[in-house]
């Protein structure tokens, strides 16, 4: 509480009369215009509250006389952006994949757009960098199950793999063990044969015989596979479901028939073109 206003002997200034444990406060008056500035900020706050959304209540908030909302602002900004991009997007729609790659400006736009679409739609299975994981193909390497040129990539994105789409990529690996086509011992023998293709096991005559009877039709005699049928290359070092003996045995016994959605039902043509160009550029494109 204010006690006594007195003159400070050192500075010659009045005190405010406030004292805390013997510490007294010198009175250095503020200029009045400073106080008016403070009042002006209060007036500003009142006007602002009237013009803009400000006060919350139980079920919502005051809307403000200007009708401003950040959501509307976002909608407008997004529409502006779409409009600004439409110059390129229209051009991509009208240009063939090969020609897009020859136009540096369009190619760069497609790479950026494809990357963005990939992050939204594809990374859940194929990973942020496209490296995939067990059962989900690596898009960064040079091994392609259904073909790695840009048109094949586009077709795979458009129609997908083993789904209900009419043009989806279809093929079926038989369930050799489950359906009784081969006995467990035979599966083991042909597993060794497959491992021998990449030099990792010794093939038995029995394994070679089963390979010739059951596998060559799709995977070819040398095991290099057939992209027309989606039959993977079994002679290289890349394995979709794992290349160890145990995983390979299971693959032959139970079969693997992975599926991918037909993105043509969800994405527009320009987005799929940009995706194809992006995936093709990840490093494995043919």
């Amino acid at each position: 509480m204010p006690t006594k206003i007195e003159k400070d002997t050192v500075s010659g200034q009045d005190t405010t009369g406030h004292e805390w444990d013997g510490v007294k406060e010198l009175n250095t008056p503020l200029p009045t215009w400073w106080v008016y500035t403070f009042y002006a900020t209060i007036a500003f706050a009142v006007v602002y509250c009237a013009l803009y959304p400000s006060w919350p209540w139980l079920t919502g908030h005051t809307q403000g006389l200007l009708g401003y909302s950040s959501r509307t602002e976002l909608t407008v900004a997004l529409a502006d952006q779409t409009k600004a991009r439409s110059k390129f997007v229209d051009k991509i729609r009208a240009t063939s994949l090969a020609d897009i790659r020859k136009d540096p400006e369009l190619f760069n736009f497609a790479l950026a757009g494809g990357r963005s679409a990939f992050q939204t739609n594809c990374l859940q299975c194929h990973g942020a960098g496209g490296a995939g994981s067990t059962g989900f193909p690596n898009l960064v390497d040079d091994d392609w199950i259904w073909g790695g040129n840009i048109d094949q990539i586009y077709a795979t994105i458009d129609h997908g793999i083993r789904n209900a789409d009419d043009k989806s990529r279809q093929s079926l690996m038989p369930r050799f063990g489950v359906d009784g086509l081969l006995t467990a011992a035979q599966v083991a023998a042909v597993t060794d044969y497959v491992l021998s293709l990449s030099g990792r096991a010794k093939a038995t005559p029995e394994g070679a015989k089963i390979w010739q009877e059951q596998c060559v039709a799709c995977h070819k005699a040398d095991g290099t596979g057939n992209q027309e049928l989606g039959a993977p290359n079994l002679a290289d070092g890349i394995w979709l479901y794992g290349g160890d003996r145990d995983s390979l045995y299971r693959t032959i016994f139970y079969a693997r028939n992975g599926s991918m959605p037909a993105w043509g039902t969800r994405l527009d043509d320009a987005t799929m073109k940009m995706l194809a160009i992006y995936v093709h550029s990840l490093g494995g494109g043919r």
């Binding site: 509480m1 009175n27 503020l30 009045t32 070092g237 550029s281």
Partner: protein, 489 residues
């Protein structure tokens, strides 16, 4: 009840309010015109600084057809700073940081040596206030005439003078805002656009903003800015010491002060004749004879005023002068004087910092190249195993071409024998290993580079490598460190 408390409660609210003026109305300062050395120095500073400010945006510099021909232009839209033949990219903002650091240490250094010379001579607030006061004096007259005019009731003549003053002030303020804008846009074409109403909204907003601040701060607020708004006077005490040369009143020589009749003896009295001229000329309205105070901006006008009076009464000049507190204290004690020591730990430290920062900036500027390279390795996946067992890493490579010509730069990788270099789009553009990458003038080229090594020679874990682009001989060369990662063995 305690008698002491009763005693206090007896003070009426009205009385207490009168006792506690927590706010005071500004007492208007009417600085009087003065002639003298420091006034001349101040005019020179005003002419030089304002001249630079208003004229610099109009300097032209020929940079060829595709670049602006304004000598100094900060192009925010184009994200380039043009300073004669130097083009600064946003990535080089550290040059601006360096200049700001130099400015700060320069200010500390000058303050440690000479007190508030920045405030008194070079601060924009002081410079523009000087200009506005000159206008005021030319229209309304000097101190006494202005005070008389303000006391007079409003008349046509008074209104005309006031209106003229504010019109000229506003014109200067608008020119100040305009000149500011011209640092960011092409000056001649924008000037035409401004008058035609064709300039962008930003241009008008910034002119309006700076017109308002210049008019308010230099016309109305003046010393209130220095006393109440500016943080600098509050912490400069940390740079000043008793060895700083500041504006000082020689109390030992001036006191006891008093009026002096011509011919009367000077024995037993001080040299100060109490003419109050030092107070009348002070732009912040203080009395230097009260000693050091926060309002003093160290402009030296009271020195000019006092020297004029000392001349008239035929006493030695410099009763008010630039001196150190140490010297004044010594003289007050009658022990002669104390020599100025400009070399003190703080001045040496500030000087050393100035030298170091300047050296760093100069060498950074000297080593600046037209080409810059950044390399970022893809970490998802860390490496790719190809079908034949080869190991591949991919890198996002950005090449900044700051020159005005298209560059075709040779990319090389050192430290990874047996590696093949490829890049996205190589099949269209042709070429593989040591390809010449094309980067447009004044732009950034982005490339996706693949490094592939045979399985046998792939490193186990990470191995440092170096990317280089450009010719070994010219300034158009840059390099960047990176690593190549192989499967751990």
């Amino acid at each position: 009840m305690d008698a002491r408390i009763q005693d206090e409660d007896a003070v009426s609210l009205r009385t207490r309010k009168a006792e506690l003026p927590l706010y005071i109305t500004r007492i208007k300062v009417y600085p009087r015109a003065i002639k003298g050395l420091w006034r001349r120095v101040k005019w020179a500073a005003v002419a030089l600084l304002l001249g630079l400010y208003y004229v610099v945006p109009w300097l032209r510099w020929d940079r060829g057809p595709d670049a602006p021909n304004q000598a100094i232009l900060i192009d925010l839209d184009g994200r380039r700073g043009w300073f004669f033949d130097v083009v600064i990219w946003p990535q080089e903002i550290y040059f601006v940081t360096g200049l700001l650091i130099l400015g700060a240490f320069g200010l500390f250094f000058a303050t440690a040596l000479f007190g508030r010379i920045w405030c008194g001579f070079a601060c924009p607030q002081t410079v523009w206030t000087d200009l506005f006061m000159l206008v005021e004096r030319l229209i309304e007259g000097d101190r006494n005439e202005r005070m008389r005019l303000d006391r007079l009731p409003m008349s046509a003549g008074k209104a005309a003078r006031k209106a003229l003053k504010h019109t000229v002030w506003l014109a200067i303020a608008a020119a100040t805002g305009g000149a500011w804008v011209f640092y960011y846009v092409d000056a001649p074409s924008t000037l035409v656009k401004i008058f035609r109403g064709e300039a962008s909204l930003e241009v008008y907003v910034f002119i309006g903003l700076l017109t308002a601040t210049t008019y308010t701060l230099a016309g109305w607020a003046r010393e209130q800015v220095c006393t109440y708004m500016c943080p600098w006077p509050r912490f400069q005490a940390a740079m000043l010491d008793e060895q700083s040369v500041i504006v000082t009143y020689q109390k030992w020589r001036g006191e006891p002060r008093g009026k002096h009749k011509a011919g009367a003896s000077w024995d037993g009295r001080g040299d100060c004749v109490d003419c109050n001229l030092c107070v009348a000329v002070c732009p912040t309205g203080i009395d230097i004879r009260d000693g050091q105070q926060i309002e003093c901006i160290g402009c030296g006008l009271c020195i000019d005023a006092c020297n004029q009076t000392m001349g008239k009464v035929d006493r030695p000049p410099n009763l008010i002068l630039w001196d150190t507190l140490a010297n004044q204290q010594a003289k007050e004690k009658g022990v002669g004087g104390a020599a100025w020591r400009p070399l003190r730990p703080r001045t040496l430290l500030y000087a050393a910092l100035l030298v170091v920062v300047t050296a760093v900036m100069l060498s950074a500027f000297w080593l600046r190249t037209d080409i810059e390279l950044t390399v970022q390795r893809d970490r998802s996946p860390n490496f790719v195993r190809l079908s034949n067992g080869d190991i591949r890493n991919s890198y996002a490579v950005k090449i900044l071409n700051k020159s005005r010509d298209e560059q075709r730069l040779q990319l090389a990788v050192e430290g990874l024998p047996g590696a093949t270099v490829g890049f996205v789009g190589a099949d269209i553009q042709g070429g593989t290993a040591v390809t010449r990458l094309a980067v447009h003038p004044d732009s950034v080229g982005t490339f996706r580079i693949f490094l592939t090594v045979p399985a046998g020679s792939a490193p186990s874990g990470s191995k440092p490598i170096e990317f280089t682009v450009g010719d070994k001989t010219s300034r158009k060369r840059a390099s960047h460190d990176a690593v190549f990662v192989g499967p751990a063995r």
